[in-house]
């Protein structure tokens, strides 16, 4: 089923406010099997006249056996919602919510230790497996094309950009994963690269990194051992050191966080570098061509 989501996905959506409802509807329209919704005060009602809504995740899990949770709960209560899903034993929790306080995420990350749950995000676009009509997130579904290239990225709209480049060249995607742009998140590049390396439905991986932190260097260490080719790009090459660029992940905190350091590490590990983010599709086509 490619990675993380697929035809067996049974989706629970927590937070059915304006935005959550809109995207839950889009996920369903794409073909995702949404089995439950959670919204305070709306327990007992139905979402889009069909999906049962519950007051608590525990009730929803007992009644509908979901295996993926999607969090749209506003930032002040998002950490609590994530933990509620962890404690209910959901194998995968995807948190879209942006602006969760970093100390909340420090706690959540530590709380995950030893639990069976994988957390994707927060502050991420989610995950989509086009070939199995499974979309768990806010990405526009129609730009995707079923295929055999995995995509993993810290960014939202930049992932869409990469997908458009791939699709327009006829290169389909196995699964596209947004790990989120916050400095502390649940799933790292390495985690996703491992999944793609083990996935029978994936032939190559596109990885889109950013300035800030050293997760791309960790990824480079893993890429050394990978059999599948990785096409990588790093954005923020022109960002001045020490200035925040929007989301908290994109801050240059030291020499290691520079784009040039990351690109060097990835190149040394054997990744194929797209020097410009406009060339992701082109470089991928070249790499796949050589593969044949």
């Amino acid at each position: 089923m490619s990675v993380l989501v697929g035809k067996n996905t049974r989706l629970l959506v927590q937070g059915l406010g304006r935005e959550g409802s809109f995207h839950a509807g889009r996920c369903r329209a794409y073909g995702t099997n949404m089995v439950a919704g959670i919204h305070p005060g709306r327990g007992g009602t139905r979402f889009e006249d069909s999906v049962p809504v519950f007051e608590s995740v525990r009730e929803a899990v007992d009644a509908t056996d979901p295996n993926v949770g999607l969090v749209f709960v506003p930032a002040p209560a998002a950490a609590d919602a994530i933990v509620e899903q962890i404690d209910a034993g959901l194998p995968l929790v995807v948190s879209i919510t942006e602006g969760i306080p970093v100390l909340d995420m420090v706690k959540v990350r530590a709380y995950l230790e030893g639990k069976r749950t994988r957390l994707l995000g927060a502050n991420c676009p989610g995950v989509i497996t086009p070939g199995e009509h499974a979309k768990v997130g806010i990405m526009p579904g129609d730009i995707h094309k079923p295929g055999r290239v995995g995509v993993v990225s810290r960014s939202g709209t930049l992932t869409y950009e990469a997908v458009v480049q791939l699709s327009s060249l006829g290169i389909g995607q196995s699964t596209c994963v947004g790990i989120g742009g916050d400095p502390i998140n649940g799933t790292s590049f390495v985690d996703v690269l491992k999944l793609f390396e083990a996935d029978r439905d994936t032939d190559a991986v596109v990885m889109i990194g950013e300035i800030g932190g050293t997760r791309e260097q960790e990824a480079a260490e893993f890429i050394r051992s990978m059999k599948k080719p990785v096409i990588a790009t790093i954005v923020g090459q022109t960002a001045p050191p020490g200035r925040r660029m929007g989301h908290a992940g994109a801050i240059i905190t030291g020499k290691a966080a520079l784009a040039s350091e990351k690109i060097a590490a990835l190149k040394a590990a054997g990744a194929h570098i797209a020097d410009s983010p406009a060339d992701i599709g082109k470089v991928t086509r070249e790499v796949l061509g050589h593969q044949d």
Partner: protein, 392 residues
């Protein structure tokens, strides 16, 4: 959100961190009488949201109250320019009058969150008083880093170990450890992004004193800190920054740029900057309008861009998702109308309602070049950019 030194100092004192006696003054006369109460020989410190005060003349050691008055008069009501500010500087509305501290040793102490360690980290150095970024870059071994446990924090023994490693003499180890524990509590209780003491001083008479106090609060956590939110001083930000924050968009002005970039999403915004830079048409800014922008926010963002005198052309790169392209286009048109801007616009609109967006821009009477994909961007932006210097 940044706090002023005097605000941070009050919080430090509440948490039992030893600070020098001081008073805040808004006028030279207040500065004078404060200095009298503090014994005459004092330090006058401009209260601004910017580092590098000392070298910029914002910190003055004076011998008596009269000198304190004139030092305050030299600061208050003026703008202070440091290496961290714009050329206009930041206004000085208050000065802190602090008793002098007889310094034997200067250290550095701070707490921040280390994303790679996924935990708060306490950093200390015996190279206090110096520019800590320089120390970090040139002598990383001089900085001691202690990772806090995400759920248990830092234990007293860990604080004592750190105090010893920082060279505190045996008699002061317990006091220094308490200070470290208290600074950690300040950090966690107040959702700081940075809690810093630079310098942390051992006095000639064997006391430990936090001589400077710096606290930055995480904006995302302000919802649970109404008391801290009330301490905001927006006047310390430059006008564009303030307008951006009010509009809810992320904006960073870049030096020597010529292309105003309006993008949704931080990653795509950085990609856009990289592409324009490579095309020889350097970006004038980073601007992420965010996921849930409406027309008014887009319009305000557009006006922000064009109010920057460096901007010679506009690159609008919107990937419609939550934000629909027609909304973005309407916002741009509204912003252009309200600002009277006639700058050339390069527009790449994809995703939700992209067709509608393109039509709205095309029908607007604005000078617009439409792109189909990002690879065309460099050349298109370069082509639309007028010769250096020309504008409107």
């Amino acid at each position: 959100m940044k706090l002023h030194e005097y605000q941070a100092k009050e919080i430090f004192a509440r948490y039992g961190i030893p600070v020098a006696r001081s008073e805040i003054a808004s006028t030279p006369a207040e500065a004078k009488s404060a200095a009298e109460r503090l014994g005459g020989k004092v330090v006058v410190k401009a209260q601004v949201h910017a580092g590098g005060r000392g070298k910029a003349g914002g910190v003055k050691l004076v011998a008596n109250a009269a000198e304190a008055e004139s030092a305050a008069a030299g600061m208050l009501g003026r703008n202070l320019v440091t290496h961290q500010t714009t050329a206009r500087g930041v206004p000085v509305r208050k000065v802190l009058i602090a008793e002098t501290t007889p310094i034997a040793t200067e250290l550095y102490l701070a707490v921040t969150v280390d994303g790679d360690a996924r935990a708060p980290v306490i950093m200390g150095s015996r190279a206090g008083g110096m520019d800590i970024e320089t120390v970090a870059a040139e002598h990383p071994e001089r900085i001691i880093r202690v990772k806090a446990d995400p759920s248990y924090g830092i234990w007293p023994y860990g604080a004592r170990d750190m105090a010893r490693a920082l060279g505190f003499p045996p008699k002061l180890v317990r006091e220094a450890a308490d200070l470290i524990l208290n600074l950690y509590r300040v950090f966690v209780d107040n959702d700081c992004t940075l809690a810093e003491i630079n310098p942390l001083v051992i006095t000639t008479d064997g006391r430990v004193v936090a001589v400077d106090s710096k606290l930055n609060i995480e904006d995302d956590a302000l919802f649970r800190h109404a008391d801290l939110k009330a301490l905001a001083d927006p006047e310390q930000q430059d006008e564009l920054q303030r307008r951006a924050e009010a509009a809810g968009v992320k904006y960073v002005k870049l030096e020597n740029g010529r292309v105003g970039c309006m993008v949704n999403g931080a990653g795509l915004a950085m990609a856009t900057m990289d592409i324009t830079e490579k095309a020889g048409t350097p970006p004038a800014n980073f601007l992420d309008v965010g996921g849930s922008a409406n027309e008014d926010r887009i319009a305000e963002a557009f006006k922000l861009l064009v109010s920057d005198a460096d901007v010679r052309a506009i690159f609008v790169n919107i990937f419609g998702g939550i934000l629909r392209c027609d909304i973005a286009a309407r916002g741009v048109v509204q912003g252009a109308r309200e600002s009277g801007s006639r700058l050339h616009i390069v527009a790449l609109l994809r995703g939700t309602n992209a067709e509608d967006g393109r039509r709205i821009l095309a029908d607007s009477g604005l000078k617009v070049t439409f792109l189909d994909d990002l690879s065309q961007a460099g050349a298109a932006v370069a082509a639309t950019l007028p010769a250096q210097g020309a504008r409107r």
